[in-house]
Amino acid sequence: MSRSLNFKPSNDRATKITLTFACWTTAILFFLPIAWIIATALKPKNTVLDIPPKVLFVPTLQNLIDALSFSNTLSYFINSIIYSSIAVLLAILVSFLAAYSFSRFKPAGTDFLMFLLLSTRFVPAAAFVIPFFQLFNILKLKDSFLGLIIFYTMFSIPFSVWILKGFIDGVSTKFDETGLVYGAKRPHIMFKLVLPQVRSGLVAAFVFNIIFVWNEFLFNFQLGGLKTYGIPVGLFTSITKGGQVDWSFVASIGTLYVLPLALVIYFFQRYLLVGLTFGTVRGEV
């Protein structure tokens, strides 16, 4: 039995080199299609469909500039940033309150409510669009930031509650009790004592949901409008120019799209892991 055949981080040099090679190869293989998109964005427009494909070319930023200056692209980007960040922050705030309540007071039906919350994320989006569309028309919320923010707040609540509850469960109730004994009021305990201790959970919930909301297309498309469309809609509605797919445009938007997300993943890798497991794992990836 070789030493490497066990489930602990390896120290053996040969194994390490093999593993490093395997990991990097895998990473690059998976990234290749994305790399192709980025390369396409940097290629001169008229060489995109060349066969054999142009691998060596003088990169140009023209496509990116064109994409950003096309129609409303820039404002779609800004819209995306506005509604996704406000909605996710709002969701985290209300989710924190709820998660605190679930964790500390365990009101009747806690398990059931948590289950209900989670199950909503599993309904096919198309099923809900029409009721929402009609609801938004009745409430006059269509194509308004208020409407989108309300929607995406709900959209972000289930996972936020789950993640934050996991984290608050991990903070000893001794803090609450010590605070109570010294005469602290509940809001003080929640925001001054507990909240700072679940910072990782807050970041995880933020990272996790911002990726979801940033990528959400269908509802933005149906509930939004010219004032409030986000970048996925911007991309979707401008794929074709004159009947043909504008590959440079798609690639440029794809590139502009992936960059912030890649940065988020790079800098908040740990939190991505934490978010995906609802706070049950807090370690390093």
Partner: protein, 359 residues
């Protein structure tokens, strides 16, 4: 809301179209009622784009002559009256897949109405019908032997196309043609401006109407109208009418046709010699727009559902999932009959086995 009401208040918008096709396709509902709901925006008809430079190449002409004993036509006058079989002969001649040049490209995609619209001229021109607008019946009409033969002929052209022909839509054909990989493409004429590139510049392209089947030709209609949403408030309504007024001004139409590759459709625009000279695809467009030369399909609220059914079945035949054209047509006809029957548009029920039909 009714366009007639808008015309009543703004008579200057009521522009005379070049042919009744425009009115019947984009304006009137229900068929034959004369009640107008829409405003013509961008009518479209079908044609074939060809590589003029290849047709005019003396070497090719000589080779063609040697191979077939016929002259290789290269002028609009001759090509615009070409018979289907003759066009296929030329396509076959230029089909050189080993050199990365395909003879032609047509639309077989499942997307939207791509397959259907590309296929309809084959059916219409050989005597096929897709339904009976009087009784709203489909079954027994769509699945006719004529349509079956037409579909076999239509899909039979795959031998001159790339392997993924069955996914072809407007964009794929533009890419193929403008990258210099196809000799010809059966395409909507309204995208004519995009059927050239720096690899295949506009002066190397010629467009013609669809070919004729023993002298007969009926194409499908494309394009779209404007319509005004009846739920608009007064402000939106005013703006909508203002947009229409702007759209129909001479300046806007000039700009649309001369600079943006648009097409004229009004009696006045069609008569404008300037417009005719703007691009090669204006002539075939107007030709196809002549009375009776093109035909639209069902004007019914259920059209989307009916379309989805037949697109899946027809595309299935193109890809080999459905073995025969007969099966594809049978499936589509039965399902469409069911849709219309359920919607209360016809008295005739679908065949009994309709629920168990599968592609």
């Amino acid at each position: 809301m009714k366009a007639d009401d808008v015309f009543a208040a703004n008579p200057e918008l009521d522009i005379e179209p070049f042919s009744s096709l425009v009115k019947n396709t984009y304006q009137v509902y229900p068929d034959g009622s004369g009640i107008r709901w829409g405003f013509p925006q961008m009518p479209d008809t079908q044609g074939v784009f060809l590589r003029k430079d290849m047709l005019e190449d003396p070497k090719e002409q000589a080779a063609f002559k040697q191979k077939t004993g016929k002259d290789l036509p290269s002028t609009y006058e001759v090509l615009s009256n070409i018979e289907f079989d003759d066009l296929v002969e030329i396509i076959e001649f230029f089909h050189r897949p080993a050199k990365g040049m395909y003879g032609t490209a047509l639309m077989y995609s499942k997307e939207y109405d791509f397959f259907s619209c590309a296929y309809y001229p084959f059916a219409y021109s050989t005597g096929g019908k897709i339904w009976d607008p009087e009784t709203n019946n489909v079954y027994g009409i769509l699945n006719s032997p004529e349509n079956e033969k037409a579909m076999e002929q239509f899909v039979g052209l795959k031998k001159y196309q790339p392997a993924n022909f069955a996914a072809f839509g407007i964009g794929d054909m533009i890419d193929l043609f403008t990258q210099g990989k196809a000799f010809s493409a059966w395409q909507w004429l309204a995208v004519g401006k995009f059927m050239s590139s720096d690899k295949v510049p506009a002066d190397k392209v010629i467009s013609i109407p669809l070919p004729k089947w023993k002298g007969n030709l009926i194409g499908a209609m494309g394009g779209q109208p404007w319509v005004i949403n009846a739920f608009n408030d007064d402000d939106h309504m005013r703006v909508a009418v203002d947009v229409l007024k702007w759209w129909y001004t001479k300046e806007t139409q000039d700009k649309f046709i001369k600079e943006n590759g648009g097409l004229p459709w009004s009696a006045e625009g069609a008569a404008n010699p300037e417009y005719l000279e703007v691009a090669h695809y204006v002539k075939p467009f107007l030709y196809m727009l002549e009375e009776g030369r093109s035909q639209d399909f069902w004007h019914l609220p259920e059209y989307a559902e009916m379309l989805a059914v037949q697109q899946a079945a027809f595309n299935g035949y193109a890809t080999g999932q459905v073995k025969t054209a007969k099966e594809a047509l049978e499936y589509a006809a039965a399902k469409q009959q069911q849709i219309l029957y359920k919607a209360g548009r016809t008295e005739t029920p679908p065949p009994d086995n309709v629920d168990s039909l599968k592609i």
